[in-house]
Every structure is written in structure tokens, then in C-alpha cells.
Symmetry: C2
Subunit: 420 residues, 2 copies
């Protein structure tokens, strides 16, 4: 694009004001609630649209609600660079997971505009819809939907809190479920030069190592039993001896304990794996302190950079559930898994980004990201992680503007280097 | 009393109509809701009062709401026999746990009345308040309160579902919390000749053995961590590797699994023990399928005929919680235990009742009962269990009128034998 313009700096003032506006508008109690295709996500989109207007960006919204904010390039017909991330959050999440990548794009384009730099080709900041699967039990609705990759059956998925379908949520917001039903492509992969995503690190590695940012090597996939159940039989806690019990809690504890031993064994064998049961509950309308529980609900979430490892552990989980179910006289219903495959980042972009960091560091991403969908489409994709004090998916996500500046400066330098 | 009147039979028609009225008036959805000092328990008391009126029984209500329905005897100053049980139920409980003992008393007095038999001394059917600790976290409020045994601090205990105190519930129903505050005795143990309680068996033993009824030898005590918690830290399920995790679910699973191994070890050593975690849940406002859980709530319920066994296992649970908490970088808050001691039944009454059964059988009670409080006061106490198809504390409690007749016939014969 334009070499040597190293004095151009990302517009951190704009970034700080956008994070502040997001926090004020979408906080409920302690945490952030930007529900996918709900009021919270809509508010975040409105804040970004308004900022894009002030930057004189072209604004368009695709058939399923993804927000495209474009600085036109000299050659409008050339493939564009997309900088983006999602604007939804988990329930009671934090202010930065997702939104940081959109804000990073806007404060980068603002810097180019202030410096009077006209890009060679279009630079688009994309506010992606519905990346979190906490609301509708499928990840990457916005990015996968944009490429016509989303299973049309997803339209019937019900929102976890209010039971409304994805289809009715799309219609309510004025979007078009037919795009998903017909697997319509809303953007052509060949028209995208690269996809770049800035995201807070969702683990403690950068904090532990004292580094402000890192280049991502690849993204862990996820295999999840989202709606696992154990069905036993309610009974009096004092009056039923062990041989007669059908205790759903005892059986679930046995299964989850066994899965932890599998995890340790896989780690000892050098495999990459994390295992989490983040939701686990007896029925509040049926349970009691003097009752054996007749039912549990739980989630089993497996993640690895290796799809084969996840497949193997999921199969072991099914075997163990059958065996433990028999032993405890209960039945497990693990249900189908929802899967998101692992993905690798573009080697050339990775190398270039790494060279742009004062303290070069690379690491895998434990969480899934929209970047994985772009990578799977064959689009050269890169990610930058920013240090974050308290993990993600919780109200305490923290992002120092100094660290954000390190990450967005690398992003800006990369853009100034294009065409690579 | 009057020997040889073996043709007198319990009024099973009255029993069936009372069970039917209770079911119709206090069922909510599938299960029974007779909340302690709430609308459901009040309805059950009204049904019993009305039946007692039709039987011309003397009716009185003590300062904390226990219902006394008395057939006057020839010698009104002599010590009386009390036949009774409680009229409350657990949330979504069944129709028979508790109520069967009150109905048994009424259908026995009805039989005496129909036969024109005037008892030698007063026979009182007692509808006891608030035996279940599911609503207020203390058992035997009605029976312990009647003997001035209830800790006055219990008045501040909040109802588990709506947070209202026991004191305000008493006042709302027109009862007198001062009776509890001043540990006032509402009945004198010396004025009670015997306490007799008919109750459904709450386990599967009688069904498994094909027996309609049994005489109870003794009652298991209970030691319960009612409000145990594990406090960890929320985090992203994919992005936090094992060494950094503070996973409340994983730690709770490890603790409950360890308690099961203690249970097996105690059983192997010949000790009487049951262990149940009947409530276990992550926070529905904070948890998520892609979040490590930062908090769990659970109940640990230990029961044994040996107080020493319960004390030993509770101490082991505390040790394990400290050790496992350290290993998982979380903290357990088990809290204080709520305790009800074990109790033995009167040997002479047991022997007599056993001789009155066509198929004599004795067994311990795994659950606590008001009878334990009367026994602890030195009152000769006996219990009869009736076969029940589906355990108790659930909507499927089942009681065949044929089995109920076997139990109440033994009760009636015992009354006809008095003074023993």
C-alpha cells in the first residue's frame, strides 16, 4: 500500500470511547449481555454503525445481519481485506470478547483516514453476527451463514433462554432466513484478500508471561455434548440403600470423574485436550435436600487442535456413559455433539505479524473464532491476541488500552504493507 | 381397653375419601405441595379438622399449630395415647408421606366410635406441623416445638423458596412464635402413654419382599451440609489449560466421588450409612456451555443409625474438602451441619405389634420421623411401615388400601389391647 508511514498510529481515543459506549449500553448487573440477534447485540451494532458513519465509511448489512463498514480503495474491483470479529457476547459475559476485533478495525481505518491515506483496495470492517453458541446452540452463525455454510436445520434451533427459534429471531430483526435455507453465499471467498481478527486472549498465558500481545498459530476445535442428561429415579435420601438406588447425581459424578481421568491420560500421552462441564444441575422444581435426584442436566465440552483426539474422547465418553449407566441403574442421554473443527492460520501473515511485534510471541487459540471459518474457506487468515487479565466469558474481562495499542499497531502496519 | 373385639375393623372407606380429598386439594402439576406453614399444609389441616368434626372428636390447636383431635376417655386425667404424623410434604412430593399417619388415626377412632367403644383414656390423633426440612432448614418443627425442644434461633430460618422467616410464617397463620422463643412445653411427656405412627415405607424393602407392612426397630439420624458451596473462577472452557483452572464443577465432582469411596469403605466395614447429594447446581445466571464454572451449590446428606458414624464421615468430608480445594485452586464452604439424632423404638410395643401382623417383619427406618422426637422424650413409641410402590418424596408415592388396612388393623388391635 504505502511503505514507510510508520508514524501513523491507531486511533486509541476512538477505541476507548467505543468500549465505554458498549459497556454502558449493554451491561446488565455485573456482566455484559449482547444476546445473538437480540436487543443487546443490536445495540452493539448500532454503536458501530454510528461510529462508521462519523468516519464516512460505506455501510451495508447482508441478508443475515452482518455489518460491513468499508473504506473504498482505489481499485474497487480488487479483492478486499476484511478486519472483523463478532458483536454478541455470552450471558453475563465481558465487554471485549468479540467487540475488540471490530473496534480494532474501526480505530485502524480512522488512523488511515486521519493520515489521508487512500488504500489500494477496499478495507472492510465486519461486525459479525451470533458467534457465541450460548444463545442458539450452533457457533459462527454470522460467518458460516455469510458463506452459505450453515445447516438450514439451524433455523429451528431454539434460543436457550426464551425458546424462540433462530428463524423467528432473524425475521423479527428484518433479516432473511431464506439466505440460510438456500445456503446462499453472501460474500465470495475469492473477493477476500485476507481476514484479520484481533481478539482478547481468553486464557492466562499472556498475563503469566508478561506479554501484551501474541500472533495465533491455530484454533482449537470444539466437540460438545450440549444437552446431556442422566435419568434415574427420585427417592428418599435415607430410605433407599445402595443396591436399590437410581441416583442421577452419583452416576453423573462417576461419569465426569472418569472423563477427567481420560483427560489426564491424553495429556500424559502428549495430546492437546481440554475438558469442561460448565453447566451441571439437578431440576430445581423436583430436587430436594432429602431426595435422591432422579435427573441431571449437564454439558460436556471437549476442545483440541486435533479433530482425531476429540473424536476419540467423545467415543470413550459414550462407552463410559453406557457402562456407568448400567452400574448405577440409570440411563445417560448424551445426545448428538455440536462440532466446530480446528483451523490453522496463514503462515505468511503469521510471520509478517510476528515481525511487527516488539516482543514476538506465538500461541494456539484455545477458543473458537470466526477466523476459523474464513480459514476453512481458503482465505488467508491471521489473528492477534491481546493480553486480558481475567479470562473471557465473564464480567471481569479486562483489556489495557496500552496492550490494545500494541495489537492494533501491528494490524495497522500489516495493512500498510499490503499488497504483501 | 376392651379385649376380644377382633371384629372391629378400621374405617377404610373414610381413609380412602380423605386421601382422595388431600390429593385433589394439594396437588400442583404432577406432585403434592403441602408447604410447611404454607397454604398446602393449611389445606391438609382443614380437611382433617373437618373429618374430626364429623366424628365428634374434641378439636384443639396448640400455640404453634399442631392439630389435636381427641376421643375422650372414661378417665380424662389419665395419660393419653397419641396417634399421629405430619401433614406437610416436600415440594412435588407424594400424597402419603406424613398424611397416612393422621388418616390412620382418624379411621381407627371412627371404627371405635362405630363399634360404640368408649376408651379408658383419651385417644388423640395429632396432625403435626412442619416435619419436612425442605421448606425451613430444620426438621420436626411441630413435634420438637411441642416439647419446647426447638432452638429459638430457628425462628430466623428463611423458607428455601420465598425467603420468609419461620417467625413471620407462624405469625401469618395466627400462631405464637413466643412459644418457641421461650422453649415452652405445649404437651407434657408424662401425660403421654404412648406415641404411635403409621408411615409409608420410603424405600423398596417391603415391595422387594412382598410384605404389606412392617414394625420399625429404630430410626436413622441425619447429618446434613444443607448449603455447601464451591467457589472457583469463571473462565473460557477452551482457553484455560489445567494448571490455571479454578473449576468449581471439577472440584465438586472430585469431592463427591471421594465421599462415595468413603461410603463404600464404611459399608465394607459393616457400618450403617447412606450418602446423598440430592441438589447440585451451577448458577443458571452465570454458567454457560463454553464457560468453566466458577461456583457450585450442593447438599451432602449423611444418614446412619449410628451418630458416631455420621460424625466420623462429616469430619472426613471437611478434611477432603480442604485437600481437594487446594488441589483444584478453589475453596469449599461446607457450612454447619443440621443434625437429627437416631432413635430406638419401644421394645414392648414393637413385640406386641409384631405379634399382630400375619406376616411379622421388622426393619429400621432410613428416614427421620416425628416418632424419633417422642422416643427421645422417653415416651414409649412405635411405628408401623406400610408398603409403598415408588419410594417417597416424589409424586409417585403409592399406597394400596389393602396394605393400609393391614397396618391400621394392627394399630386398632394395639389400641384395643391397652392398657398393656
Amino acid at each position: 500500500m504505502v511503505g514507510g508511514l510508520t508514524l501513523v498510529q491507531p486511533d486509541i481515543e476512538l477505541a476507548a470511547s467505543l468500549f465505554d459506549a458498549l459497556s454502558r449500553a449493554t451491561r446488565q448487573g455485573r456482566g455484559i449481555v449482547r444476546d445473538s440477534y437480540g436487543a443487546g447485540e443490536e445495540t452493539a451494532h448500532a454503536i458501530m454503525r454510528s461510529a462508521a458513519s462519523r468516519l464516512d465509511l460505506e455501510i451495508s448489512i447482508d441478508a443475515i445481519g452482518n455489518l460491513m463498514m468499508t473504506q473504498p480503495g482505489r481499485d474497487r474491483s480488487a479483492a478486499r481485506v476484511i478486519i472483523g470479529s463478532h458483536l454478541d457476547s455470552v450471558p453475563q459475559g465481558g465487554n471485549y470478547d468479540g467487540a475488540a476485533g471490530v473496534v480494532a478495525g474501526l480505530c485502524t481505518l480512522s488512523a488511515l483516514k486521519k493520515a489521508g491515506i487512500e488504500p489500494a483496495y477496499d478495507l472492510t470492517v465486519m461486525g459479525i453476527r451470533a458467534e457465541e453458541s450460548a444463545w442458539f446452540d450452533v457457533p459462527y452463525i454470522g460467518s458460516a451463514g455469510a458463506f452459505g455454510l450453515l445447516d438450514p436445520a439451524s433455523l429451528s434451533i431454539k434460543r436457550s433462554d426464551n425458546g424462540r427459534t433462530l428463524e423467528s429471531a432473524l425475521i423479527e430483526r428484518g433479516f432473511d432466513p431464506e439466505a440460510i435455507r438456500n445456503r446462499r453465499r453472501l460474500i465470495e471467498p475469492s473477493a477476500i484478500r485476507a481476514f484479520l481478527e484481533v481478539h482478547i486472549e481468553q486464557g492466562p498465558t499472556l498475563v503469566a508471561r508478561g506479554l501484551p500481545a501474541a500472533v495465533v498459530t491455530g484454533i482449537r476445535g470444539c466437540k460438545r455434548f450440549r444437552n446431556a442428561r442422566c435419568l434415574g429415579r427420585y427417592g428418599h435420601s435415607g430410605a433407599v440403600n445402595r443396591p436399590y438406588r437410581q441416583d442421577a447425581v452419583a452416576a453423573t459424578v462417576a461419569l465426569l470423574h472418569h472423563l477427567e481421568t481420560i483427560w489426564v491420560r491424553q495429556e500424559d500421552a502428549g495430546a492437546d485436550l481440554v475438558f469442561t462441564a460448565g453447566e451441571l444441575y439437578t431440576d430445581p422444581l423436583m430436587h430436594g435436600p432429602s431426595k435422591i435426584a432422579g435427573e441431571t442436566h449437564f454439558v460436556v465440552d471437549l476442545r483440541s487442535v486435533s479433530d482425531a483426539t476429540m473424536d476419540e474422547v467423545a467415543a470413550e465418553a459414550r462407552d463410559a456413559a453406557a457402562r456407568i449407566g448400567d452400574a448405577y441403574r440409570v440411563s445417560f442421554e448424551l445426545g448428538a455433539t455440536s462440532d466446530s473443527p480446528s483451523a490453522v492460520m496463514d503462515a505468511r501473515l503469521r510471520a509478517r505479524l510476528k515481525s511487527l511485534l516488539d516482543q514476538p510471541f506465538e500461541m494456539p487459540s484455545g477458543a473458537g473464532h470466526d477466523a476459523a471459518v474464513f480459514a476453512k474457506m481458503g482465505i488467508p487468515t491471521a489473528m492477534i491476541f491481546v493480553r486480558n487479565e481475567h479470562g473471557s466469558h465473564n464480567p471481569d474481562e479486562a483489556l489495557a488500552m496500552e496492550d490494545f495499542e500494541v495489537a492494533t499497531r501491528a494490524l495497522l502496519r500489516l495493512l500498510l504493507d499490503f499488497p504483501l
